[in-house]
Symmetry: C2
Subunit: 423 residues, 2 copies
């Protein structure tokens, strides 16, 4: 099936906003085993919209149009859809009623110009939008089925999942159930994971399991798309593959599906009524900002400190006297973690201390990262050197610090060599 | 002039990476007074590329193509450009030599497949890429001039600024000099600033000054694009307009052009040999992470603390005894800022303490933000309530806290009502 995406709106065309809706739609279709072949971006302009709809209607089997369903004069999608399909716009009574209820629930009167949002091409099939006033719809233009979606991301996301992808899958006539399994890892590059996982797709010989990746440094997402006759079939197919992925990637898998690294850490601490004290340097508050704001974190994240000079790091941890001189060591990080823990009366202390290379920022600028984790009974440490410029080092150190804490809390080895580290 | 952009590559088409190159190109052209009319995204696929080039060649006057200039087999831009233009690929000796030197300078041997990057359509004009091996080029396809650019963002940025925009401006036959003046503000919404600045374009009656905006909450960028015969002409035209913008937006302008809010704060502190101690709560390290990592900040940013509970906030600031009970107040923030300053021996102390509404995250969840700024001789405070969900409150509080510090350091009123605040 040939699928195209058309994104509309002056704000997207002129670059005022980055078009993340395009990559969202494309990714979600890929995850469902559907491939996008062409993308078009046009502004709020009648001629361009009409030309874009007609061209896509000649080339594609299905087209997803994003944006232009709002109440203002520059929202043109319904009007041009009707023109391209050669039909009239008519008032959709059901949607008008839905909008009036929408405003009533918020104790507001519906402004007159919202009525425009209930004007749909006469041949349109309504696509429900349970959380907004922009009505989605589908209709045929040329040889393609067009699906019109709102520009507001959360409305688009829901309509795509609940209304559009099921319709597209039904049109492919393929397997009726599809499932996306995701693994989040840190420390292994994409090509390394790709080679580690060689052959896992073949564990299900009928080709219904597809492996994919999405890298967003420092994390890597490994994806398994599984198709089956129904969800039971999907589960049976997925089971041996996901077991094999877990075995091969081992301790590097930090989280699965909607879990996050920070969520796993907070859950592990909550489970044991644990609490955390944190000291960081060049990461400059980025480790704290991953953990401290979540609902419930106020009971777990007791205190964090950011300091750049060694005397201030020592003072922040409540260590009296002058800190040792010489090269920064993992033992120093252990000492600081232990002191921070004692000072705040927490069960766990984490210190991530970094010696950044001198000089101007450059691609071969590196940092030596010294990590200490302390409890009442022990101190463990880890040292790694990451090279790639100030931002690269800082982002890597945030992830490494958090991942070491995860490993410690889950009883895994804290020191395991990663691809990003230089020896 | 009708301008189009064609973005190529499977990674962009499938959504593996968000296409920020498109918005970058489009924004830069807008800033130069050029308007993009159409955007196309296609994968690394010969038929799609050829169709995209031919269609754009029929519609447009100028086309910018991004990506596909690399050394691997899926990089097809030169090959398809030659086919679309009906010419041969030939070896570009100059570029081959440049690449060999590029590798020599890095003490590496050029891999044989890089030779492919010097194969250009015979009619191509070379566009220099001084920082990479992908050679840019321009040629005619249909009625349009095509400009081929590398996918690597920093290479694209430079080629666009140095090679392509000047050529496009020359083709428009318009003014030969163009300048973009930018103002960064916090606290006023886009429509508010738009109405405050009504009529400023008309201060230069010939229409050569154009006003525009780019909102990225919590900051707003106000842009003036000025065209003139030469840079002296541009300066003469810009002077009265920029003076008027500064007058009307007043204290809300935090920074201009490439300046940043954090840069202005660090510079103001550096100038007076100042140092900073910081205490934050729900912003969870995000204020520290805006300041502490910059080169030179290690002398200014002395210590930051993150805590979520009132006793820990007080303890972090080195205040003995039990903190006061009852509603969080600006006076409490002042007390904490003063104590943090004394504890760390800094010239300035900043405390941003937030009472977040209870309950699940929702669009009408708010937070009461209490800010204290302390020096050896005085304490000033500010209170604001921001509503819009947890992330909205957190981001707003980071900016408000930093902006209050900027205002204090520059001798401006710290309390000035902002649009995002509820009374």
């Amino acid at each position: 099936m040939q699928i195209e995406i058309i994104c509309t709106g002056d704000e997207v065309l002129t670059g005022k906003i980055v078009n993340s809706n395009f990559s969202y739609i494309s990714t979600k279709l890929e995850d469902a085993g559907l491939t996008v072949r062409w993308g078009t971006t046009v502004g709020d302009d009648r001629d361009s919209l009409l030309a874009a709809f007609k061209q896509a209607g000649e080339r594609a089997d299905a087209v997803i149009v994003n944006g232009g369903l709002g109440p203002t004069v520059d929202d043109l999608s319904q009007e041009i859809a009707a023109r391209a399909a050669g039909v009239e716009l008519t008032l959709h009574e059901t949607w008008l009623k839905r909008m009036e209820e929408f405003f009533q629930r918020r104790s507001r009167i519906m402004p007159p110009n919202n009525r425009k949002q209930a004007m749909l091409p006469s041949t349109a099939e309504m696509l429900d939008n349970p959380i907004g006033t922009a009505c989605g719809f589908a209709l045929d233009i040329g040889k393609a089925r067009f699906f019109f979606t709102p520009g507001v991301p959360r409305e688009l996301h829901r309509m795509l999942a609940e209304q559009i992808i099921p319709r597209l899958l039904a049109r492919t006539g393929a397997a009726t159930a599809i499932h996306l399994k995701r693994f989040h890892s840190y420390g292994l590059g994409e090509s390394h994971v790709d080679s580690l996982l060689e052959g896992v797709e073949a564990l299900v010989p009928d080709g219904s399991v597809k492996l994919g990746f999405r890298a967003h440094y420092p994390q890597l997402e490994t994806k398994l798309t599984v198709r089956g006759a129904d969800m039971d079939d999907v589960r049976v197919k997925l089971a041996p593959v996901q077991q094999e992925v877990r075995k091969r990637l081992g301790n590097f898998i930090m989280a699965e599906d909607d879990q996050t690294l920070e969520g796993v850490i907070l859950a592990a601490l909550t489970e044991r009524a644990g609490t955390l004290a944190l000291i960081e340097t060049f990461t400059s508050g980025m480790i704290a900002s991953r953990l401290a704001h979540w609902p419930g974190a106020e009971k777990i994240f007791v205190r964090g400190a950011v300091a750049r000079s060694r005397p201030q790091v020592w003072a922040s941890a409540g260590i009296a006297g002058t800190p040792p001189e010489g090269e920064l060591t993992p033992e120093m990080a252990g000492t600081v973690a232990a002191a921070a823990r004692r000072q705040s009366g927490t069960t766990h202390g984490l210190a991530v201390l970094i010696a950044v290379d001198q000089g101007a920022d450059r691609i071969d600028l590196g940092g030596s990262i010294n990590i200490g984790i302390a409890t009442a009974t022990e101190v463990v440490t880890r040292r790694a050197r990451i090279v790639g410029g100030r931002d690269w080092v800082r982002l890597g150190a945030v992830e490494l610090g958090l991942d070491c804490l995860r490993r410690y809390l889950l009883g895994l080895p804290v020191s395991e060599r990663i691809d990003f580290e230089k020896v």
